[in-house]
């Protein structure tokens, strides 16, 4: 727990230099994607700063002019005209920039950034998803990517604007009265320091309330997700959740009040400094007025500058608050973009499959973040609350599958069956041992080439928001594909349902962006997923519990069809229902990551080991009654 806190702090506290550097990195990124955007950002900043400086200078001249005995209305009108003109021009520029230019350019930028992010995401090892911390950062970077780049741009433009304005104002004031100018400068500096202290206070508080807010948003989510609706109605779980909710509200109140008390003193101090920095100059100017060294117009003009300076400082502070936040985003974004996958494609194009061999393969899911390896080593050294060493999902597995074989992998939940598939597809690489494809290490082969030869239906397959045909093909459906799609769907026993669909294979699935979209039932969806492997010329087909959502009749029908259509292919069935795997040429029985029995159904039954025991247990109830 303590360690966690330390870690968070480390991650959250970004020094000013780093903050600026991160913002700079983001800008250079944008420069590469849409250089015109950066150019305009600088222009917006400069023009904004110049406009407000001009306005201040002319207002100053305007007020001063009133002191001159022979001032004409014409001169005043000229000053006023310039101020108005500057205002209107800048208004026109802003209106065009923000309402037209920015909206469009922003989209272009976002488009390019996202495409890069997406493509990069695909290269990530699947193991990254197992590491909650990496994954959370990644999701956050994705979520935030939408607005952050623009935020960095806008903030930089504003920064340029305010800095120009503030320096103009202070310079102007220095020329009028060095003492007043210095007071303003010191006041501004003191404000900045106090502001940073206040930030630290808030940071501490947020650290306390963050986990509580997380709890609250969880409870909120439970209540609004349809997934939980039934449970909440048939049980009293709501009472538990509400308890969590009110407890964390209490915690938040406590933290807020605790912080408020500390803040209170700080706020008072800030207030005193602010007022002194604001009114001490007024008093000094008053003396000058009474001395006769300044006239009324000059007096009001100076006060006007002080007021304006106050506003600009306030704006600048608001802007500064966002910069560390931006930097934090950029850090995560860069970390993600600099991630390099460990599963690398080989160069050899795979030849047609002859054999696949697992040689003493051991594997454990151990998510390691590339950049945090050091930290990990550190914490391991500390030895305290070290997470229990992850159990190997596969332990010294050796097996060979030859072309044309129908192999079943069976075993209880958690026996390592699915892991085997994931290794074969190179979603992960073995921790120890090697996998040989036609006698050569799998790592030597080109990954896309391998994946074009090996097709998998996972237990947790997904249906995409696309048409039926596209869901089967995994790409756009051209006219010449249509027969193949119909054929694949028929083989997957989806033909009857297909006939019912109004737009046939062009029916959009899910209601994600089409109200007319069709939501398939679990069993139907599974068939569509299975059709995927029939639509492509795979040589090896892996069925990972493909029939778990199907009812017995459908399961029976499907298994037979698959076998029939896949007669010349190599098929691996994974299941814990032994009735579905009985027809396999060879059955591999797994337990706790090890291959414990291997042989045909008959042979394994004769062996009377674990497989036979499991089979009998499942069969027993049918036999008694049958």
């Amino acid at each position: 727990m303590k360690k966690d806190e330390k870690k968070e702090k480390k991650e959250k506290k970004i020094p000013l230099g780093r903050t600026l550097y991160c913002n700079f990195l983001m800008l250079s990124k944008i420069w590469h994607m849409t250089p015109q955007y950066i150019v305009f950002m600088v222009i917006v900043g400069l023009v904004g700063g110049a406009a407000s400086s001009l306005e201040t200078i002319f207002t100053y001249m305007l007020f001063n002019a009133l002191d001159e005995p022979g001032v004409t209305f014409g001169r005043m009108a000229l000053y006023l005209g310039v101020i108005l003109g500057v205002n209107l021009l800048i208004g026109l520029f802003y209106a065009w920039y923000y309402e037209y230019y920015q909206t469009v350019t922003d989209k272009k930028l976002q488009h390019r950034m996202h495409e890069e992010l997406f493509r990069h995401a695909l290269t990530m090892d699947l193991a990254c998803y197992d590491d909650p911390k990496f994954y959370n950062d990644y999701v956050w970077a994705m979520d935030e990517s939408k607005g952050r780049a623009v935020q960095v741009l806008d903030d930089t433009a504003r920064m340029i604007n305010y800095l120009i304005t503030i320096s103009t104002l202070i310079t102007l004031m220095m020329r009028v009265d060095v003492l007043v100018g210095s007071i303003l400068f010191v006041g501004a500096a003191a404000d900045a320091v106090l502001w940073e202290v206040g930030n630290r206070f808030n940071f501490k508080k947020n650290e306390r309330t963050k986990p509580l807010h997380r709890k609250n948003s969880y409870v909120n989510r439970v209540y609004h997700l349809a997934d939980f609706a039934k449970e909440l109605r048939v049980s009293r779980a709501g009472e538990n959740l509400e308890k969590i909710y009110s407890d964390s509200v209490d915690g938040i109140v406590e933290a807020e009040v605790w912080n408020g008390k500390r803040r209170y003193g700080l706020d008072l101090l800030t207030e005193v400094i602010d007022e002194v920095a604001r009114f001490l100059p007024v008093v000094l100017l008053l003396f000058k007025l009474y001395d006769g060294t300044a006239q009324l117009g000059a007096f009001v003009a100076s006060i006007n500058i002080i007021w304006n300076l106050n506003w600009s400082m306030y704006d600048l502070a608001k802007n500064l608050i966002r910069m560390p936040e931006n930097a934090r985003y950029v850090e995560k974004y860069l970390k993600f973009m600099s991630y390099r996958p460990t599963i690398l494609s080989g160069e050899t194009a795979p030849e047609p499959l002859e054999t696949v061999e697992f040689k003493n393969v051991t594997f454990s899911y151990s998510p390691i973040e590339p950049e945090e390896k050091e930290e990990k080593a550190e914490s391991e050294k500390e030895g305290e609350d070290k997470p229990q060493s992850p159990k190997n999902s596969l332990e010294d597995v050796s097996l060979t599958i030859r072309r044309g074989e129908k192999v079943a992998i069976v075993g209880y939940n958690g026996a390592g069956k699915t892991t085997l598939t994931k290794l074969l597809m190179r979603l992960y690489d073995p921790t120890e041992g090697e996998i040989l494809y036609n006698g050569r290490n799998l790592k030597d082969y080109d990954i896309p080439g391998l994946r074009a030869r090996i097709g998998t239906v996972f237990q947790d397959y997904k249906i995409f928001a696309a048409t039926v045909a596209e869901n089967v093909l995994g790409r756009e459906c051209a006219d010449e594909d249509r027969d193949a799609v119909t054929d694949a769907l028929t083989k997957a026993t989806f033909a009857d349902r297909l006939a019912e669909l109004e737009a046939g294979m062009d029916t959009p699935l899910t209601k994600e962006f089409d109200e007319a979209g069709v939501n398939l039932s679990g069993g139907e969806a599974q068939k569509v997923a299975i059709a995927r492997i029939f639509a492509r010329p795979y040589e090896l087909i892996v069925m990972d519990e493909p029939s778990s959502a199907l009812d017995p009749a459908a399961e029976y029908e499907l298994n037979h069809t698959i076998l029939e259509y896949a007669r010349d292919k190599t098929v691996i069935f994974i299941s814990h229902r032994l009735s579905t795997t009985r027809m396999a040429d060879r059955i591999l029985m797994f337990a706790e990551g090890r291959l414990i029995e291997e042989g045909s159904h008959d042979a394994l039954m004769r062996m009377n080991g674990k497989y036979a025991e499991m089979f009998r247990l499942q069969a027993e109830k049918y036999r008694e009654a049958g």
């Binding site: 305007l62 699947l126 990644y138 109605r233 008072l268 207030e271 009114f279 008093v283 039954m605």
Partner: protein
């Protein structure tokens, strides 16, 4: 109530965004009342704070300057002017010392109480509405919006009122001062009001643009999800789907840009008009003052300076006022969803404090039920009687209506026609919470909550003596081996939602934990929907034995598509297309040789032993 709803619906259909001015006010008032009822001192102090701040702002930034200028021109001594200045500053600081305690120390408490009140109200309602609401996209959409926005919007109402007060005080005070100098000056300040109209137009255009982009947002969001969600990761790597998704994404981007272009010019012009309004007014007023000072010489330099200095403030505050109503309208729209949800009357018949549900004869009488938006009814005229203590198996193909029937028995939906009765009395006449407690249910798509293991088993607050109960139940459901190894045993939090040390269970393990619930109480009815779908055969077998044992005197209804378990039931109901087509004991149904028997044989076939195997087995056991 029904009438009101209908009327509301009609209005909605005409223009979903148009709310009458009265409704806008009523919605905003509703929020203020709500806040006031939770934290009675919040609003009065808050508004006192805003009035005070606005007055101080006027005094220090506008009035003060005029006083100084006037007194100087009147030839008052410097000490008097400086004394006044210092007095004001001290006064301001005292005010600040006192008032700053509110936002720093007092308000956090109020604000959290208000969130809590609002959210709890929503939770309560969410658990009361019938399940069908979750399937009605329009309702669900409103509900999610209400959940997401309620608190934020309520606070926004307060902020808008605050801004309103500030603007009014500033306008009145500064306006009065300007009026004092020259009544005509006030006329200049009114000019921006016209601009308010342009602003309104601009908001309408921007709203239209926003509505048009929502469809695109949805597409974009979806594609983004497919790239980063874990559940899509495997397929995105192994197939060509990324290309398909990118195509959708590219199309959305092109559409976006076309949309921005379409509205770009209009928005630019409108923004230009509304933004330059205050610059124009200020310039005009200043020009007028300069004219009076320098040409007609009817205004002193001091007053002229004051005009120069304060005319901006009035213009700015007037523009702000023009925005206020738009803001209120905007809030009202969100609050409308919130109110709609709060005022929604659940359609589920319920009798608070009604009869207490106990063990008895559970009957479904001619139940017909259609899911919202579905064409065909999910249940057609289903009748059945379950006697106390019976073990019932509901079997049939996917989509035959088994789960729907169970949901109706649980009174989660109101049937289109027919009724669910217990001992002859309709479910609606029982007290809802006692009906709920009478059933222990484990759904097929059971969920683990981010609670401790024990709480996940019981799904109610823990009491003394629960530890032993839960441990025993977990042992019987087969989950104990896993739980025993956890760091905090049955008090370990599940899921990593907000506990980084939380345990994540596999589907099979989670199912065992869910099933344990049935062993912790002796509710008269136990309903298991596909209880063993994720269990391996040994676990399944043990679980069923234990379950039958635990339910010896209770009514057990289980759904399964593995017919091997149906053999254990006293009676089997075979469902097809939303109707019960066969009914009886396993033996009777096998003898009848109908659809059930056909299905059973099909499943059993693969398990039938060959002679060799039997010999081997017998040989082995010898």
């Amino acid at each position: 109530m029904a009438f009101k709803k209908k009327k509301e619906k009609e209005k909605k259909e005409k223009d979903p965004n148009a709310l009458s001015t009265r409704r806008v006010l009523s919605n905003n008032l509703f929020v203020l009342k709500l806040i006031h009822s939770v934290a009675p001192s919040y609003l009065p102090t808050y508004f006192l704070w805003s009035v005070g701040n606005a007055i101080i702002n006027f005094l220090m930034n506008i009035w003060l300057l005029r006083e100084i200028v006037n007194r100087y021109e009147e030839g008052r001594p410097a000490s008097e002017v400086i004394g006044m200045l210092v007095g004001l500053i001290i006064g301001q600081m005292i005010w600040y010392c006192l008032i700053q305690t509110l936002p720093d120390i007092v308000y956090p408490r109020y604000q959290q109480r208000i969130v809590e009140h609002i959210q709890r109200g929503l939770f309560e309602k969410a658990s009361a509405v019938e399940l069908a609401c979750y399937e009605n996209p329009e309702f669900y959409d409103k509900y999610v919006k209400a959940m997401d926005n309620a608190y934020g919007r309520c606070m926004d109402v307060v902020y808008t009122v605050d801004g309103c007060i500030w603007a009014v005080v500033s306008i009145v005070s500064t306006g009065a001062m300007l009026f004092f100098i020259d009544p005509l000056l006030v006329a200049f300040s009114l000019l921006p009001l016209l601009i308010g109209l342009i602003r309104n137009l601009r908001n309408k255009v921007s709203k239209k643009r926003h509505d048009e982009r929502q469809k695109l947002d949805r597409r974009e969001g979806y594609v983004q999800r497919t790239f980063y969600l874990n559940e899509y990761a495997k397929e995105m790597r192994l197939t060509g789907f990324p290309g398909l998704m990118l195509r959708i994404y590219d199309k959305a981007q092109t559409d976006y840009i076309a949309l921005w272009r379409k509205y770009g010019f209009k928005m630019t012009v409108l923004r230009l008009f509304s933004d330059s309004s205050s610059a124009l007014t200020s310039a005009a007023a200043m020009m007028y003052a300069a004219f009076r000072t320098l040409v007609s010489r009817s205004m002193g330099i001091g007053d002229c300076l004051v005009v120069f200095n304060s005319v901006d403030a009035v213009a700015w505050n007037l523009t702000r006022m023009a925005e206020v109503f738009t803001e209120f309208r905007d809030h009202a729209m969100y609050i409308e969803d919130y109110r709609y949800f709060l005022e929604y009357e659940p359609k589920l018949a319920a009798t608070p404090g009604g009869r207490e549900a106990k063990s008895g004869e559970l009957r479904a009488e001619h139940l017909t039920f259609t899911y919202a938006g579905a064409e065909k009814p999910a249940l057609k005229d289903v009748s059945l009687t379950i006697r106390p203590g019976e073990k019932i198996a509901l079997v049939g193909h996917n989509g035959s209506g088994k789960t729907t029937l169970v949901k109706l028995l649980l009174h989660l939906y109101e049937p289109d026609s027919g009724a669910v009765t217990l001992d002859g009395i309709p479910a609606g006449e029982y007290d809802a919470s006692s009906w709920r407690d009478a059933f222990t249910t484990v759904f097929q798509d059971f969920k683990m909550f981010s609670l401790s293991v024990a709480e996940n088993v019981l799904l109610r607050p823990l009491k003394d003596g629960d530890d032993a109960l839960v441990t025993e139940a977990l042992k019987r459901s087969g989950a104990w081996e896993r739980v025993e190894k956890m760091k905090n045993g049955i008090h370990t939090t599940l899921t990593r939602e907000f506990d980084d040390e939380g345990e994540v269970l596999s589907v099979g393990e989670a199912q065992k934990v869910s099933l344990a619930r049935a062993f912790t109480n002796d509710s008269p009815f136990v309903i298991l929907d596909e209880p063993s779908s994720a269990l391996d055969p040994i676990a399944e077998y043990n679980m069923f034995q234990n379950m039958l044992d635990a339910c010896r005197d209770r009514t057990l209804i289980f759904i399964s598509h593995r017919l091997s378990s149906a053999v254990l039931a006293d009676r089997v109901f075979y469902m097809e297309d939303g109707a019960i087509t066969e009914e009886g004991t396993h033996a009777a149904l096998m003898a009848k040789n109908g659809r059930y028997a056909e299905l059973f044989r099909m499943q059993a076939e693969n398990y039938r032993e060959t002679e060799d195997e039997r010999a081997a087995r017998e040989g082995g056991s010898r």
